[in-house]
Every structure is written in structure tokens, then in C-alpha cells.
């Protein structure tokens, strides 16, 4: 009953929104619930580095609870001073703050807020900053606006807000440097009113974002002649005759709006066309010094659209804007609806994977983030982890393997080492080695905004990518692809939670994988399986006494071939293989034992005990042992101890690399001698 009622409310609300939108741009069927819809008029004052904006928010309450207040994100206030929760919690920026000048700080000041009804009601006096997460009274990134009367289920309110945003020197990928503006998280943005009748409107501390889908109709007034890129398509351009031009961008069914402008962008277009997938118009805004990377940006974007589209489901919009960020802008490598920033150094060559890697990643976010809109405050891993996994998968099938590269002379000059081949990011967890591992600092299940130092990156990107890769290896690619495709289709334009994904895994695989999620997601134990001892002992004649006709007699008095063991003397070996579990987490593993003649035996172990022993009586010695030979459990924190090989050339390997280190050291001494 409730669900039907909600659908009815949703339908009526969406119809109202659609009626207010430009007909030429409207999708036949709304893709999303269109809960938060914005019409904005924005003017950029370049001299003051300030944005003057007015927005009309049309918001629908699709829950079963009345909303007695509204809550807004004012992200730019995180850059107001160093007392904000974001700046006071981030050690990284402590150094960067030293170089800030007075005009470099930013803010978002709401000047007035009105409830649009007859007659309009001014709500400005009632608004107040709140700090629901950490109680920091200096943090002004969440604004609470009490309503004179609740917005009841199914009702729509229209709110007019006038605000001023001072654009900061770039923080967290937004701001201005020179005449390059990248403007993200810049307007008063309503939080998410959840099904339980509470607001999900977190302070801006260390995470990314969360918002409802809607329609954005935005007019940007900028200096004439400046190139502009933004979420959506430009549907109208008006020269105002005062040195400014107004660009109108329109986009349906997205949960954010971003824009960038600069007089220096080079603009290129291309089109993605792939059988079975809808075409996508690509628009590239390129820095002049990266002119030569045009095709590489386009090709990398097409790789993402092709593989993600083929594996999970089509990209639902018909356009995509790629922004090559300006040098020093710190706006690179970030995703926004229908627009993303790549990033590449001037001298990077194709083997550096710049801009390919970041382009595939951010284009991939159009799927995991743009279309599947998880709550990044609390479950950042759903988009970052899924996307890191998917990006690594695309790169592993479409690009040459990664190689070592070093950037010299303050990072300007790359030097490649083609024969030092590296692993893809989802190939192993070895860098998070052992029991000091950052994998153990926080379980992934902890809300992202509460992760401890060093945990955010590991728990949002690396560990989930390894977790998904492990699932792929365990369930098989066909099944796992179906899982991801189902999850993508089922949760597009919606807000999935982790349990929604786990449910899809269990449903599609027809297996209960909760045991795995209990450990990998809810727990922080690490996986570490290892080969223990390997013994190959030749049989020797039995020593001691044997019972013969009731008496214990020396074995020498008994015919030697009466015992099966003695028949093996000189012919067979007793091979013992011990496999250990050093980590606290458990996972079923295979153990491959190879004998001197080349025969192999594949054992299966449930991996629960601390150790297991396999015994083989064979004419050959064990030549090698490998735990998890198919590399299913890429979450294993130490791959090196997974294998054992008789006469492994460790000494030669040690000498080889130590000899190279020696040349490095000798050369260091030689250069030191310059100063004698």
C-alpha cells in the first residue's frame, strides 16, 4: 500500500516538474524520481572571483514522513577558515595552508531564503548552521531551515535562495587559479530526506557527496569569449552586450551540477559509436599544452563507455564532457554528472598511462556514482571501489601492462622502465602487508566519514576493488558480470546501500556469500595463507622391534619384505606438505602440489583450521607447492609466502638485484665526490 502510494506521489510530482522544463530537452520517460530540481541564474564576477547566484529549488517529499525542516549543504564554507571540520581534520592541507593569502579563502553565504507560495514567506531569520557529525561549532557546511508547516508526503515545495559564493584557491578540486575556474560543490544544495524521515546531510569532512536526482536548468553569465563546460548540454547562448554572455545548460536526471570556464581551453568534439550501445557525443576541453593528447583522451573515454556499457549497462545520457584540468588547479581526476576531469603532465607518454588511467576511472564514475548514486558520505566504497575494480579490469584487457615510471626534476620529466612490469591495482594486497596492515585500521562497514587516518583511501578504493576481484575469481566472470549488471540496472538513478549489493550477489550467484562479506566488509581481519614446511623423505628400512608370533623381536630377524614400508625402501618418498593460515580471516583455497616428474595434484581446503597437512607416498619428491594457484583470493596480504619451490633461485635473485643496488650506491658515492 505504502509503495503504491509513494509511486502515485512520485508520478504526480514528476509530472509537475516535467511541465516546468523546456520541452525540447525533456526525456520521454523520467529516468529518476527527480526529487531535487534546480533552476539557477548565476553570474561570475571575475575581478572579485565571486559567484552571485539565485536558485529556485523544487523539492518533493517522496517519503512517508513529513519534513518539518530543510537541510542544505554549503560545501564552500569548508574553505572559510582553518577551523572548519574539513580543514581542521585534514593533515594534508596543514602545510598547504601556509601559502594561502587572504583572498584565497572561499565561502558560500546565503543572503535570503524564501518559501515560494502566495504570498512568499521569508525563512532567512530562522536558518541556522548545525553540526550533526562532530559538533564543531565553527563548521558552517550544513544549514538548517525550519519550515512554518511540514512538507507532507507527496507534497512539493519551492524554495528561492539568493547566495554569494567566493571562489577559493583550489581545495578539493574546486576553485580558481589564474583565469581557470573549476566550480564544483558551489551552490546551496539540499540534503537527502531519507525513508525513515531523517535528513542525510552530513558536514563536509573528508568524503565526497550524496544528493537526490533531479533536473538542473542553469544560466551561467560569464565573460564573453570564455569557453565553458558544464553538466548537461548548452541549449541557449545569449550575448548580453556588456562583455558577458549567458550560457544556459540543461540536464535531467542527475544529482549534481558542475561547471568550468577559462579563456584558454581548446575545444574538440568526437562521437562514441558502438554496436549495441547508444551513441554519445563527446566534448573535450583541452589545455593548449596538452594538444597532442586529444586522441588519447577520446580513446580512453571510449574504452570506458564501451567496456562498462557492455559489461554493466549503457551510459544513459547522449553526451559527455571531458575536461583537461589546468596545471596547478588541483581539479584533476574527479567525476561529476556528464562531465569529468582527467589529468596529464605535459611530457607524459602513452606508456605512463597518463591521461588514460585517470580518464578511464573518471569516465567509469559516470556509471558508478553518476547512474548508481550511492551515499558517498557513508559508503564511499560503492562507487570508488566498484570503479577502481572496473577501471583495473578495463585496463587489464585493453591496455599494455603497467610499467615502472619515475618522474624526475621536480616531477616534470618521466623516465620509463619497460622491463619492470607492474601489477594492476586489483591484482594483490601485498602492499598492505601483514598485521600492521592499513586494511586492519577500520572495517569497510564503518561510515566513510568516520574512517580513521589512512583508512579512507584503503577502504574506499583498494580493499573493495580487491574484494570485488576476489568475488569475480571465486564466482566466475560470467556470474559476476551478471551480478554487476543486475546491480547496475536495479539501482540506477537510486541510492543503493551495501546490503543491496550483497543481496544481488546472493541472488544471482544462488549462493550465500554472507560469510565472505562478514569478513571482508564487516570485519577488518586480513587473509594470509602460506605454504609451511615441505618435506620429502626417502623411505629407510624399519628400525626397532616387530611383533612376530606374539613376541617382540628385532626387525633384523624378520624378513624385510614383510612390511609394506620396507618394500618402498629406495623407491618411494614420503612427501609432507603443510599449508598454514596466518591471517584471521578464512577462505576456501586450492593447493597445487607439483612433483618432480611434472605430475600435479590439486587439493581443496576449506581454509578454516590454522593448518592442514597433505601427505603423498610417491616415487618423486615434491617440486613445488602453491596455495591459491589461480589467484582467486587477491585479498591475501602476502602473495610471496603462497608458494614454495625446491631450489628456488632466491640467492641468484638476491644477487641480481643487490648488484643493481650496488651500482646505484657506487654512483651515489661518485656524485658525492663531486663536492670534494
Amino acid at each position: 500500500m505504502n509503495a503504491r502510494f509513494r509511486r502515485l506521489l512520485l508520478g504526480l510530482g514528476t509530472m509537475g516538474i516535467c511541465l516546468a522544463m523546456p520541452r525540447a530537452s525533456m526525456a520521454a520517460v523520467p529516468l529518476s524520481q527527480r526529487i531535487a530540481n534546480y533552476q539557477m541564474d548565476v553570474r561570475l564576477d571575475v575581478a572579485q572571483k565571486t559567484i552571485y547566484g539565485r536558485e529556485v529549488l523544487t523539492w518533493i517529499n517522496t517519503t512517508m514522513h513529513p519534513a518539518r525542516e530543510l537541510r542544505f549543504h554549503l560545501y564552500y564554507n569548508a574553505w572559510m577558515n582553518d577551523r572548519s571540520s574539513w580543514l581542521s581534520s585534514s593533515r594534508y592541507f596543514a602545510r598547504a595552508l601556509e601559502s594561502l593569502e587572504e583572498g584565497d579563502w572561499g565561502y558560500c553565504k546565503v543572503q535570503s531564503i524564501q518559501l515560494l507560495r502566495e504570498p512568499p514567506l521569508d525563512l532567512t531569520a530562522g536558518m541556522a548552521y548545525i553540526q550533526p557529525d562532530d559538533g564543531n561549532p565553527h563548521d558552517r557546511t550544513v544549514l538548517r531551515v525550519p519550515l512554518p508547516q511540514p512538507v507532507f508526503p507527496g507534497d512539493t515545495v519551492r524554495i528561492a535562495i539568493e547566495w554569494v559564493s567566493k571562489v577559493p584557491r583550489p581545495f578539493a578540486r574546486t576553485g580558481v587559479v589564474g583565469d581557470y575556474y573549476f566550480i564544483a560543490q558551489w551552490f546551496p544544495k539540499i540534503g537527502v530526506f531519507q525513508e525513515d524521515g531523517t535528513w542525510n546531510c552530513h558536514q563536509f569532512i573528508q568524503t565526497e557527496f550524496f544528493a537526490d536526482y533531479g533536473v538542473y536548468d542553469v544560466r551561467l553569465t560569464l565573460p564573453t569569449g570564455w569557453v565553458v563546460g558544464a553538466t548537461g548540454r548548452e541549449i541557449e547562448t545569449t550575448e548580453n552586450g556588456d562583455g558577458t554572455t549567458t550560457h544556459r545548460f540543461y540536464q535531467e536526471d542527475v544529482h549534481d551540477f558542475v561547471w568550468t570556464t577559462s579563456p584558454h581551453f581548446l575545444v574538440y568534439t568526437d562521437r562514441f559509436e558502438e554496436p549495441g550501445l547508444p551513441p554519445v557525443d563527446l566534448r573535450l576541453l583541452l589545455q593548449p599544452y596538452n594538444r597532442g593528447k586529444k586522441e588519447r583522451y577520446f580513446e580512453a573515454t571510449k574504452l570506458a563507455l564501451r567496456y562498462y556499457g557492455g559489461w554493466f549497462g549503457a551510459y544513459p545520457y547522449d553526451h559527455l564532457t571531458i575536461v583537461d584540468p589546468a596545471y596547478q588547479s588541483r581539479s584533476g581526476g574527479m567525476e561529476y554528472p556528464t562531465l569529468f576531469t582527467g589529468g596529464s603532465r605535459w611530457l607524459s607518454t602513452s606508456r605512463t598511462r597518463q591521461p588514460e588511467s585517470v580518464t578511464i576511472h573518471e569516465a567509469g564514475h559516470q556509471f558508478w556514482y553518476g547512474v548508481v548514486g550511492n551515499n558517498e558520505f557513508e559508503h564511499a566504497w560503492i562507487d570508488e571501489g566498484f570503479n577502481t575494480y572496473s577501471q583495473s579490469r578495463v585496463m587489464s584487457v585493453a591496455l599494455p601492462p603497467p610499467i615502472l615510471q619515475r618522474w624526475y626534476l621536480e616531477g616534470f620529466i618521466p623516465v620509463l622502465f619497460p622491463d619492470v612490469v607492474l601489477n594492476e591495482r586489483f591484482d594483490g594486497a601485498d602492499i598492505y602487508d601483514g598485521f600492521r596492515s592499513p586494511l586492519k585500521r577500520d572495517p569497510m562497514a564503518r561510515p566513510s566519514y568516520r574512517y580513521g587516518p589512512g583508512s579512507y583511501r584503503v577502504n574506499s578504493y583498494n580493499k573493495p576493488a580487491l574484494m570485488l576481484r576476489t568475488l569475480e575469481n571465486y564466482l566466475g566472470w560470467d556470474t559476476f558480470r551478471k551480478i554487476l549488471a543486475t546491480f547496475y540496472q536495479r539501482w540506477q538513478f537510486n541510492h543503493p546501500r551495501p546490503r543491496d549489493f550483497f543481496q544481488v550477489v546472493n541472488e544471482i550467484s544462488e549462493r550465500n556469500m554472507d560469510w565472505f562479506f562478514e569478513q571482508a566488509y564487516y570485519g577488518s581481519n586480513v587473509f594470509d595463507y602460506a605454504v609451511g614446511r615441505v618435506l620429502s623423505m626417502p623411505f629407510e628400512p624399519t628400525k626397532g622391534l616387530l611383533q612376530n608370533n606374539g613376541d617382540f623381536v628385532p626387525i633384523s630377524q624378520v624378513a624385510r619384505d614383510t612390511t609394506p614400508r620396507d618394500t618402498a625402501v629406495g623407491k618411494l618418498y614420503r612427501n609432507l606438505v603443510y599449508v598454514r593460515r596466518w591471517g584471521e580471516a578464512t577462505f576456501p583455497v586450492e593447493v597445487r602440489v607439483t612433483f618432480a616428474g611434472g605430475d600435479t595434484v590439486l587439493e581443496r581446503w576449506d581454509g578454516r583450521d590454522r593448518w592442514v597437512r597433505f601427505e603423498y607416498i610417491r616415487p618423486e619428491k615434491v617440486e613445488s607447492v602453491e596455495v591459491d594457484p589461480r589467484r582467486v583470493l587477491v585479498l591475501d596480504v602476502n602473495r610471496t609466502n603462497n608458494s614454495w619451490k625446491r631450489n628456488a633461485p632466491a640467492r641468484l635473485a638476491g644477487w641480481k638485484w643487490a648488484s643493481k643496488w650496488m651500482i646505484w650506491f657506487q654512483h651515489k658515492l661518485e656524485l658525492m665526490a663531486f663536492f670534494h
Partner: protein
Amino acid sequence: MKPLRAYFQGVLGLWRVKRYILGLYAVNLMLALALGSVVGRAIYRSLGNSRAAENLVQGFDSLWYGSFSATAQGLARTFHPAVVGIGAVFENLNDFLQGRLFEGEGIFLGLGLLYLLLWTFFSAGFISRFLSRAQTPDFLQAAAGFLGRLVLLAILAGMVYYLLLGVFLDFLSGWIRGLTRDTTDERIVFFLTLGKYGAVWFLVWWVNMVFDYSKIIIVDRNLRMVPLAPVEAFGLVLKHPLKTMGLYYLLGITSTLMILIYWMVAPGAGASSAGEIWAAFLLGQLYIILRMCLRVWFYSSQVALYEGLYKTSSNQSPEEIG
């Protein structure tokens, strides 16, 4: 005397001091062997009987390196796959150019200073051998006799290097940072950075040359007042800038050529048999020996030029000048 003649005359002089170059090389190698064995043992222990050992022999194993680097202690922490091939040179050159060569593990600083002292000791011997009318022709006697004065000179030089690479380079970096604060074109910052290093290193090399001639003057004239030597050398270089700098940069180009050739021939990570691994090591040793020869070649050529300049352009003998 023309720089080119001094350059070729210098290379011929190397043969006269080959024993001492090999002696210096032996010290360099022994230090490397002592420390390299620690790194090698750490790698060996970390590999045990694993398959990673095979991977490391055939190429590289980045998963192993992940575990290794996460747990490495002491010297083993300084191991990085970029030491392979030309990386051994570039990693150090990068630190050298940025004035960070003495940073890092404390043992490197200690050994580096000892090695500097050894070269300071040998310098007087080399110069004495190259001078045609040396007052102390015996190599070791000259080395010992001038050690105190050359150490004092090295301290003076160290102070100037610190001013250039510690203070001036930092100042220029800060200045460029401020100048390019709002620059959005990477090329501008790149070329300014190149210009910064060009300016600083032009001065560093110039100072290096002046202190080279200072050593020659001290040994040639048995000069007791060490601070006078750089003043005299400064005057010499100012009087003959094209010749002194021409020779210095000719030798600098030789050094660059050596690096380029080593870049082309240095084996990478692929060497997999014991023979190939040894060949790669020996090639690296040849490069190190040639670099040491080049360092002595500087002295040899500069002494030749120094003597040539006084014979051709001055009626005074070096003794009379002092």
C-alpha cells in the same frame, strides 16, 4: 694552450695514475659490497623458497616488492626497482641536481663524507703527478702533505656549495613558486624550473672549477694561506674564461656522453642467467671506473691547461706569482 689540447693531454695523463684510480675504485667497490650484501641478504631472506625468486630472476615481481618494502628495515628500505639500468644513474642525478644527494639514510651521509675525505686525500697526489715540475712528486707523500690544506679548502668549498644548493636554490624555488602561483600552463613552469637549475648549476660548476684550480695552485706553489688559493684561482678563471670554461664543459659533455652510452647499453631487469647478471654488473662497474677516470681527467686536463696558460701568456713562473 687551447682547451682541446689540454683535454687530450689530460687523457694521456690518466695512465700515470692508474694504480691510484684503481685503488679508489677498490674502496668504492668494497663499500658497495659491504652494504650490497646487507641488501642482498634482505632480498634473499624475503624470497625464501617462493616463486617470487624466479620472477625476480626473470624480471620483477611487484607483489613481492609490495610486501618487501612494507616490512623492510634499515638499508633494505633504500631498495627500489628503479635502480635497474640507467635508473641507477638517474635516481642519483635527480638528487644531485636538486641538492638532495646527502639526504636519506644516515649511513650514506657518513660514508659519503668519508669518501669525500678519501678523494680530498688523493687529489693532491693526482695533481702532484700531473704537474711537470711538482715540488713533491711522490703520490702518497704529496697526498699526505697537502691533506690538511685541501680539507680546509673542501670546507670552504662546502660552504659555498651549501649557499648555492641550500640557500640560493631554495630562494629561486620560492621565487618561481610565487611568480607562477597563478600560472596554468605547465610549460612555463617547466622552462622556469629548467632555467632555475641551469642558473644554479652554472654557478656550482663555475665554483667547482675555481676550487679545482685552487687545489692545483696550492699543490703547485705549496701555498700555506689556503683562503688565498680560491682568490688566485678566481683571477685565473676570470682572466681566461673561455679556455677554463671551455675545458670544463668539454669534460662535462664527455660525462654526458658517457651517461647516454650507458643508457643505451645498460641491461634492464630482464637479465636472467647468472652470466647475464654478472655481465650487467661488470658493465655497471666499467661505467663507475670510467666515471672515476673522468673525475681524474678533470685534474689532469686542468693541470695541463694551468701550466700551458702560464707558459704562454705570462712571463712569470707559477712560483713567482705566489
